[in-house]
Amino acid sequence: MPCINPEGKPTETGKKVLQALRDNGLCSAEKVAETTGVALFRVRSGLRDMIEAELVEMVADKYDITEKGIKLIE
């Protein structure tokens, strides 16, 4: 249940996190956990993976979805 599967696509959990970022704009990990109901530790881990995959970017200490991320959940 990471947020990215071995094919580089977001998992169901990954999509939830990306949607939360798309719908709420800049978010803290805590806010994403609260919005999605996904456990905070998994949000933190998933955000890390999705930053590496360039689906998410960090702005100061918050998170935002990238263009590449938006495409993957459309």
């Binding site: 249940m1 990471p2 947020c3 805590e30 456990a39 905070l40 530790f41 998994r42 933190r44 881990s45 998933g46 890390r48 993976d49």
Partner: protein
């Protein structure tokens, strides 16, 4: 990998920051820091597809909702592979209907096991013993239990310890032997002679002597 077969090796102790880790788990890559702000029970089991461990995993899954209510996450560990963990969790669900809701570290490199002193060569040179590390929301180790390979742990005792620690943190009190939620708690003992004299006159406390007073919460 001679390292964990020779002594002396440092083991973590109560009151210390839990050792950091960067682990491959059945729920993705997890670091200790990912759990910051939650309590965490990190526990090891000797091996996947073994009987006592299976009963323990089912029992941990059963108390999972109780732990969640208390803000406690669970994290399992053994030196088996990720594929073995996944196969085992699926097998447990197929055979018993119990879904394993928490991540399990695949510690093939033994990095986490060694940092937490989970391999006790006198029991097994290749498997972790049944450790329980209760780590608070500031990532400090608050309780450590080491059970042997043959002996399944007691979930109610683990819940009792969590309740006791959280009651201590919330109320600045301690908890007596055999304490359960709802029982009276212990007021810290006076640390001056004057305090001792005052304590025994304090209304509302149930005192056996100056140093042992209880109160209801």
């Amino acid at each position: 990998m001679e390292e964990y077969q020779t002594k002396p090796i440092s083991l973590p102790r109560l009151g210390e920051k839990a050792p950091d880790f960067d682990a491959i788990t059945t729920h993705g890559k997890l670091k200790l820091d990912d759990f910051k702000g939650s309590w965490l029970i990190l526990f090891s089991h000797p091996a996947d597809f073994t009987p006592v461990c299976t009963t323990e995993f089912i029992a941990f899954a059963e108390i999972f909702p109780d732990l969640q209510k208390r803000g406690v996450e669970l994290l399992g560990l053994s030196v088996d592979s990720l594929s073995s963990h996944i196969a085992w969790a699926r097998n447990v669900e197929e055979k018993t209907g119990v879904k394993i809701p928490f991540p399990i570290i695949a510690d093939l490199s033994k990095e986490v096991s060694l940092a937490y002193g989970m391999v006790h060569p006198g029991q097994s040179k290749t498997e972790t013993v049944r450790c329980v590390f209760i780590i608070d929301d500031k990532q400090i180790i608050r309780t450590i239990l080491y059970y042997p390979l043959s002996t399944g742990r007691n979930m109610q005792e683990i819940l009792r310890i969590v309740d006791a620690l959280q009651t201590t943190d919330a109320n600045g009190v301690a908890t007596p032997a055999n304490w359960k939620p709802g029982d009276k708690v212990i007021v810290p003992a006076p640390n001056t002679q004057e305090g001792a004299e005052e304590r025994v006159k304090q209304p509302g406390y149930e005192c056996v002597d100056w140093y042992l007073c209880k109160k209801a919460l």
